[in-house]
Amino acid sequence: MPRRARYIRTILLELERIHSHLLWIGLAHHFIGFDTLFMQAWRIREPVMWLTEYLTGNRKTYGMNRIGGVARDLPDDAHERIPPVLEKIADESARAVDAILEDASIRARLEGVGTLPTSAAKAYCVAGPTARGSGVDIDARRDHPFAAYPELDVEVCVEHGCDIWSRTLVRVRELFDSIKLVKQALKQIPSGPVMADFDEIVPFRVGVSSVEAPRGEVHHYAMTGPGNRPYRWRVRAPSYNNLQSIPALLKGQSIADAPISVASLDPCFSCTERIQTVDTTTGEVRIYRQEDLLSEFRKRHA
């Protein structure tokens, strides 16, 4: 993949992290009843959506990643358009965060609530800010570098409080770190092609990737198929394993703290599913429980 394509992918991923974390900050405050900050955080985040709409053609489904590079190059004036938006976001986010840091009501609702001790975080294999808020030092951008990250200075933000406030701090720090990363990427981005030269996409070849999404490590498994179409595709989103820690999170809490505890994982419920198989010939549907899956696996690999 050409270097310029790697940088474009990195810039878009970091822009996505910026608007995702601002979204979370807004939603978290909505769940504790502070709608003012919900509206303000989403107001602050809107210019990033307009920026990505200008850069890629859509506010959030960028449609840029292709095998071998990216589909389109950035517009010619990307270097003029991106920095002012980043400055505005950095400035307004800093002011909003500064305003809530000493807010006793918010601290009371978020500190000491939804505690996930480091050992439990490791046992449940949580990822992303959920793990980093509990002192687990993992980040796919540093551990399994991809795209342009080997050439950028990624700061892995780890907090040791293990509660929702720590996760909030992790996300706030990552927000400002992402702004820095986009600026650095824009300075370093080389010119050149955005798509590798290759003849054809060979069918039935497998690719597996591990990317640091805003919620944690997301894994994709794809198998190419005939006719330039994917044959198999499976996503393991970070919310899938993050949600497994909810029993530990909720233990001993009051019911009023349940929504914010669950929301502190930044769950994307759309990324979760139970395993359900459909027999395409007979149409029979079967739902597997954990015991069923384990016994099936053991049968086949005894």
């Binding site: 003012t36 900050l37 303000q40 107001r43 307009w50 709409e53 200008y54 850069l55 890629t56 053609g57 859509n58 489904t61 449609g63 589909a71 389109r72 517009p75 307004e92 002011r95 909003a96 500064d98 305003a99 809530i100 840091l101 000493e102 807010d103 006793a104 009501s105 006719g227 330039n228 179409r229």
Partner: protein, 182 residues
């Protein structure tokens, strides 16, 4: 307690300084900028109904059916994801993604593009070769290679199978092309 009050004042300041930001939409338009990927539009003068877009579409919403000497090209834009693959694949640059995003409709059949193009059928066996326009485009592009003498040959009105058979029937149809090796 004082820190908390100051914090609340700062929060109020953030809101007051932002002021009212509501866009006047829908009372004034709010057009997207740049290369916005809106509803696909087909330029029916350029389109030759070759089907390259159909191969590229991830949602498989582009279908081609040949019947009674007419090829029907149909886009069911209800499930379009506005990815632009069709635009990128089209050799005639006949597809553009417009800036139109107000696509709400009571019936998904309003989201259809339909084109009917006449087919060129094989003069020997009657099977469809491609649309008349496709054949015209090929004639135009190959016409610049004088050795091939395409315009006068009967190639373009024969399907590939009949073309092969014709060489055996009539060797005069074969054209010898020699290339000088440098």
């Amino acid at each position: 307690m004082l820190k908390h009050t100051i914090s609340e004042l700062k929060e109020a300041l953030v809101c007051l300084e932002a002021g009212r930001v509501t866009l006047p939409y829908p009372f004034a338009p709010h057009a997207p900028e740049g290369e916005f990927r809106g509803k696909p539009v087909l330029n029916t003068r350029k389109c030759m109904s070759c089907g390259a877009c159909g191969n590229a579409c991830p949602a498989r919403l582009i279908s081609i059916t040949d019947e009674a000497g007419v090829r029907t090209l149909r886009f069911e834009l209800g499930r379009c994801t506005y990815c632009g693959n069709c635009r990128d694949a089209c050799p005639q640059e006949a597809i553009t993604l417009s800036q139109q995003f107000e696509l709400s409709t009571a019936s998904t059949s309003d989201l259809e593009i339909r084109g009917e193009f006449h087919l060129q059928v094989c003069r020997r066996c009657g099977a469809p070769i491609g649309t008349l326009r496709q054949v015209g485009v090929i004639r135009e592009r190959l016409g610049v290679v004088p050795e091939l003498q395409i315009a006068d040959s009967g190639f373009l009105t024969l399907c590939p199978a009949c073309r092969r058979a014709s060489f055996l029937d009539n060797p005069a149809l074969a054209v010898e092309v020699t290339r000088e090796r440098a």
